[in-house]
């Protein structure tokens, strides 16, 4: 299949169409909302499910297999904010706080984009390294820390903002905890223990993700009103940088010997921008940064872009680089 065929198949999956339905609901001014406590519970479920499944896979690998990919993920997470910040300040003419805030989002990762990549690979029968969820966990926080350091250097930290506290909060925040906890539990209970909870944590995964994406479509479309505020530079940034980061992630994945699936995952992680952990941390540490910039860019532009066009692109690239069809 060509890239376009793949993109079309991806666009017409239940996941993407549920996201589109949510966005449509906003455009029709419908009252459709997934109730907040249920959305919240779904996100707990998704994180735990990703972790558990990854943990079971992890238990089959020697720890050494994980060192290089872990370091690569860490390196990507820490490097990405550097050029994002520079670009936003120098070329985009953003203030230190806004530049650091956006950089934090692109340095961190989006768990749902990751999950969509996994679903994409599963649907096309492409295997990937079992420790992929661990890479997700590793890349959540470092990019945010680096961005805060840049903000401090730029004189944008201070006042009520408290970067240390904010970082402590995401480190102990539920998404890192559930991912890491799930990985550990999965590794400990192994295949046999996992079998007992598989009907919930594996069989229901795609359907639950549909409901989650329905609400994400609503939330993303709700941000479309801020589109004007974002300006052409940031809008371009929110599409071009994911592609560059995706290419970089795939290349790094190739360099350290990952499979096509693993390259796709690392590319997707690098390309994705956080819109759950990072916004909360940034709001607390950099109150003067404008959420209209960072949330709109990551949630309303980069997230749908990666979901629809990014994924097939990074995957096609990975297959091409691996010399495949």
């Amino acid at each position: 299949m060509s890239v376009l065929d793949l993109a079309a198949a991806n666009l017409l999956s239940p996941l993407l169409l549920c996201f589109a339905l949510g966005a449509l609901a906003v455009l029709l001014r419908s009252d459709l909302r997934v109730p907040e406590p249920v959305f919240n519970a779904l996100s707990i479920y998704l994180m735990l499910a990703i972790g558990l499944k990854g943990g079971v896979e992890l238990s089959r690998l020697p720890p050494s297999a994980f060192v290089l990919p872990g370091l690569a993920a860490l390196g990507l997470g820490m490097a990405i904010p550097l050029w994002c910040y520079a670009l936003l300040r120098q070329v985009g003419r953003f203030g230190a706080a806004d530049a650091a805030a956006v950089a934090a989002h692109y340095g961190s990762v989006s768990a749902v984009t990751f999950v969509a990549a996994i679903a994409y690979l599963d649907a096309s029968g492409t295997p990937y390294e079992g420790y992929a969820p661990a890479l997700l966990a590793i890349m959540e926080v470092p990019g945010i820390v680096v961005a805060f350091a840049l903000a401090r250097a730029g004189g944008a930290l201070g006042g009520r903002g408290n970067a240390g506290e904010a970082v402590r909060e995401i480190l102990s925040g539920k998404s890192v905890l559930l991912l890491a906890g799930g990985l550990l539990i999965g590794a400990v209970v192994g295949e046999a223990g996992y079998a007992r909870v598989k009907p919930v944590f594996s069989d229901l995964f795609q359907g639950a993700l549909c409901l989650f994406l329905l609400e994400l479509g609503i939330l993303a479309a709700g941000r479309l009103g801020d589109f004007r505020r974002v300006g052409p530079f940031l809008a371009g940034f929110a599409v071009v940088m994911p592609v560059l980061h995706g290419v970089l992630g795939v290349a790094v994945g190739h360099a350290i010997g990952l499979s096509v699936g693993g390259m796709t995952v690392l590319g997707t992680l690098a390309a994705s921008a956080s819109y759950i952990a990072a916004p909360a941390a940034v709001r607390l540490a950099l109150p003067q940064a404008n959420p209209g910039y960072y949330l709109t860019a990551s949630l309303a532009i980069t997230f749908p872009f990666n979901l629809t066009l990014g994924l097939p692109l990074y995957n096609a690239l990975a297959r091409w680089i691996a010399g495949g069809p």
């Binding site: 907040e36 939330l219 909360a280 709001r283 404008n290 959420p291 949630l299």
Partner: protein, 103 residues
């Protein structure tokens, strides 16, 4: 019914601030608070709470000194950057000593 007069300060703020704000309230000398989940619209509408519910509404019974200290703290530390709104009124309570606080 014998009652005494105390202040009731109500604060509406972005949900992401809840933990920090309640800590600041107790640090300012209040003896307690009551929090409810809320949502709203205002004149700024600049917030990062899209994915995390919306606002919290916090009520604090306190002596007038603590109440004024709370308002001053809000005006200084919170109003400039966050979507925070606050008001103060006067109410009667049965056992006033409970709310005298450290202010």
């Amino acid at each position: 019914m014998q009652t005494v007069t105390v202040s009731l300060v109500t604060i509406v703020a972005e949900k992401v601030l809840a933990t920090r704000l309640t800590q600041a309230i107790l640090a300012a000398g209040a003896t307690g608070y009551t929090l409810t989940e809320a949502r709203g619209a205002g004149s700024r509408d600049m917030r990062a709470s899209t994915l995390d519910g919306e606002n919290v509404r916090i009520e604090v019974l306190a002596g007038e000194g603590v109440a004024d200290a709370l308002l001053a703290m809000l005006a200084r530390d919170w109003f400039p950057h966050y979507a925070v709104v606050a008001w103060a009124g006067t109410v009667r309570v049965v056992r006033g000593e409970k709310y005298a606080g450290r202010g």
